[in-house]
């Protein structure tokens, strides 16, 4: 095995329970995004563009679809003779077998994988953020500062700072203190969950962390505080671009809709930093004589005979004549039949909305059996993958529909 200067590890094992029915059968990083992507396309494409050609993807929760999606890594140019992408599920060994207990433990369990490449640096990424970032710039800064660890940070609005892990730095951007979700933040520099470590240092701390039975085996809670406590040199690396955690239905909806802005924060139409994905083998989209699309994002295999406004349609979606779709995200293969109306909703893959049905209805007689304000907020309605909504059925706003409504 040839040595690699830097190996990336993507944490993709999380359930993403706040995405409700969308992650019932798939891991969060495999959730569709932006018309033709999945969330994991972002870190994988970033790696490809940053010149990192050896990537481990740590999976645990519902990994089948994610595994098939990543496969040999060809869409991201990660089908390499030396290096490439590797899906890393938990495994058993002679002594024991266990699930990944936390982010740090997941990396700990794969020390053997990383050692094969004899890396100098390891970049740890999470598989659930939307952003375009050159990790090589961070690595260069890390080397220049002769740091032990470098953590990417982004400025967040002060009133939102208490929701994040906040890095307090000195004037040289050296981290002096880390506070997880502080009530009274001293800084608005939030950790993006993107870390660069010198491998020998990280390895030592991973072993120590594993030996500590009290530890939660988490980077934010254990590894970073331990390094700070020992006086190691931890640098903050400021990132100025668009970055969004899409961990909730509302943030997922918002991040999709932000693509429709006149000047989108995360411009996907960027030839220098294309987001790669496993492309569907589908013909171009067809817009019929009765179809109309305004301020929308649509992709291959769609057939549009109805009215679509401020929405994102994924591959192979059919919108029939007389149907209206507004402020919505329609995932691959879903069908919205004649006269149906879909309002501020996320329609799961292959779901079928019946003739004249109403999704996101505010009518008094609308079906509110599936009201779920724990998952849905901001008047967003969620229809699960493969769910069928019968003709003329009205589904109340803020529902998360998990069964067919006939």
């Amino acid at each position: 095995m040839r040595s690699k200067e830097c190996v990336a590890m993507i944490l993709a094992g999380g359930q993403g329970s706040r995405l409700g029915i969308l992650t019932q059968n798939v891991a969060k990083p495999a959730v569709p995004f932006g018309g033709k992507y999945r969330i994991i396309d972002f870190p994988l494409s970033n790696c490809a563009h940053s010149g990192i050609d050896t990537v481990g993807v740590l999976t645990q929760y519902q990994p089948l679809e994610l595994n098939t999606y990543i496969a040999n890594g060809q869409p991201w140019d990660l089908d390499r003779t030396n290096g490439g992408v590797f899906v890393l599920p938990p495994y058993t060994s002679a002594e024991k077998g266990e699930w990944y207990k936390g982010t740090a433990n997941a990396i700990y369990q794969n020390i053997g994988f990383m050692e094969q490449f004899n890396p100098k640096y390891v970049v740890i990424l999470s598989g659930d953020h939307i952003y375009k970032m050159d990790y090589n710039k961070m690595l260069t800064a890390h080397k220049k500062a002769n740091a032990d660890a470098t953590i990417a940070v982004i400025e967040v609005p002060w009133d939102e700072a208490p929701r994040f892990g906040i890095m307090n730095t000195d004037e040289n951007m050296q981290i002096v203190e880390f506070e997880e979700k502080p009530e009274n933040p001293k800084s608005n520099l939030a950790s993006m969950g993107v870390y660069c470590f010198s491998w020998d240092v990280l390895k030592k701390y991973l072993m120590a962390d594993e030996a500590d039975p009290e530890s939660e085996n988490d980077f934010g809670k254990n590894i970073i505080p331990a390094m700070l406590g020992d006086g190691l040199k931890l640098m903050a690396h400021r990132f100025d671009g668009y970055w969004k955690d899409v961990g909730t239905i509302q943030s997922l909806w918002e991040a999709n809709m932000e693509l429709l802005d006149d000047k989108p924060g995360c411009d996907l139409d960027d030839d220098t930093w294309k987001i790669f994905s496993r492309n569907p083998i589908k013909p171009p989209q067809y817009v019929g004589a009765t179809g109309s699309l305004k301020n929308s994002y649509t992709t291959e295999g769609c057939e549009i005979y109805g009215r679509v406004e401020h929405s994102i349609l994924f591959e192979g979606v059919t919108i029939c004549e007389g149907a209206t779709v507004k402020d919505s995200i329609v995932l691959p293969g879903a069908v919205v039949n004649s006269g149906a109306s879909v309002n501020k909703a996320i329609i799961g893959s292959d779901a079928v909305i019946g003739d004249g049905a109403e999704i996101g209805s505010t009518a008094d007689d609308a079906n509110s059996d599936y009201n779920n304000t724990k998952i849905c907020s901001a008047d967003i309605t969620l229809i699960g993958p493969g769910i069928k909504i019968g003709n003329e059925k009205k589904v109340a706003v803020l529902s998360m529909v998990t069964d067919d409504i006939c």
Partner: protein
């Protein structure tokens, strides 16, 4: 499932006259249907039919075709065993080879044919747009115990001018081809040969060797016709009556693209119901963005477009930009073309990367669309 058949596709067809569209690229590489090239249909048909080895002869202008095909990975043809072979002309040391036909092409790839292991070979032109299952053709070939099976299709009401572009077949009730009329002056039968045939690989090599050493050029006249007329050789017909259209002129090219606006044609051609998709090179284009001012009607639109104006009855390839107030009707606009604000475009074919500056008007005839060459700025 895999089968024991080798595929050979000719990337050129001397009978096609495509003007500007083939001045810089081979016929097989002409863009069609929003995100495809002509070759994608025949190559995908072969892949979907279980053919694992395909050779494409590329006599001239093959740079864009090679760029498109690459290693063949988008067709799953980048293989250790078999896979895709691009067959450029060999430097034989002989210069000034006069008029070349299919026989010289096949003679030129004799070592490729020789080294292949497959029992049967399927030889086709590239420029018929259809979705056909060649495995069924092979099945019928084996069932009939034929020496040759010719794929043919029903034609009717050919004018004498059209008839001269066809090879018409007489077929008896047990699918035997009894006679063959190469480019006749009028329509003599209603079955037209589609320039696709199956035979045994080794017998093809022998026939090619014989024909090329006897000054013969054309596969149809010099190999198939003698076979039909020879009582010892069994030539059968396989009738295919799905959607098919030969692209051999600007008009037929235009018609194929416009035909794709029809749902039945799309469903059949792109194999949507039978899961025989047409593969093409992946470009990772972003989804198409429709602006608030977009008005789109009856159009076939690839990814990566940005539409701010009006588009009707047209085909847009990847990465086309339609400016505000611009109107595009009955047109074929290829990759990365830009139609700026307030332009009017009707009955036009834009090759790749054409830029039409603000306020310009370009109107062709519905019977004869106007072609604007690659990367021209108007």
């Amino acid at each position: 499932m895999k089968n024991d058949m080798l595929g050979v596709i000719f990337s050129e067809n001397p009978e096609a006259s495509m003007g500007e569209l083939t001045s810089l690229r081979s016929l097989a590489a002409v863009p069609v249907g929003g995100r495809y090239r002509i070759i994608d249909f025949m190559l995908s048909n072969m892949v979907n039919s279980g053919i694992l080895k395909v050779g494409i002869t590329t006599p001239v202008n093959y740079q864009s075709l090679m760029d498109h095909l690459g290693t063949g990975k988008d067709w799953d043809m980048d293989r250790k065993d078999d896979g895709l072979y691009i067959l450029p002309p060999k430097d034989t040391g002989e210069s000034d080879v006069e008029a070349v036909g299919g026989i010289e092409r096949l003679a030129g790839i004799s070592s490729f044919l020789d080294k292949s292991q497959q029992e049967y070979v399927l030889v086709t032109d590239c420029n018929t747009i259809c979705n056909i299952d060649f495995d069924k053709v092979l099945e019928s070939h084996l069932e009939n115990e034929a020496d040759f099976t010719l794929v043919c299709t029903k034609v009717k009401n050919l004018t004498p001018k059209e008839a001269r572009k066809h090879i018409l077949l007489n077929v008896d009730e047990s699918d035997n081809v009894t006679d063959m009329h190469v480019y006749p002056g009028h329509q003599v039968t209603d079955l037209s040969y589609m320039h696709m045939f199956i035979t045994r690989r080794e017998s093809l090599m022998e026939l090619v060797e014989y024909a090329s050493t006897h000054g013969k050029h054309q596969i149809s006249k010099d190999i198939l016709l003698p076979a039909v007329l020879n009582d010892q050789v069994k030539v059968c017909a396989y009738e295919f009556n799905g959607y098919r259209k030969k692209i051999d002129s600007i008009q037929s090219f235009y018609k194929v693209n416009i035909d794709m606006l029809n749902k039945e044609v799309r469903d059949e051609l792109f194999g949507l119901s039978v899961d025989n998709p047409i593969f093409t090179k992946i470009k990772d284009s972003v989804p198409t963005k429709y602006a608030k001012t977009a008005e789109v009607e009856n159009s076939f639109i690839a990814d990566g477009c940005k539409i701010e104006g009006t588009v009707r009855n047209s085909v847009l390839f990847r990465g086309v930009h339609v400016g505000k107030g611009a109107v595009i009707e009955n047109s074929i606009i290829m990759q990365d073309a830009e139609v700026m604000e307030n332009c009017l475009v009707e009955n036009v074919i834009f090759d790749k990367g054409v830029i039409l500056r603000s306020g310009k008007k370009l109107v062709g005839q519905d019977t004869y669309p106007l072609v604007i060459g690659k990367e021209i700025v108007v």
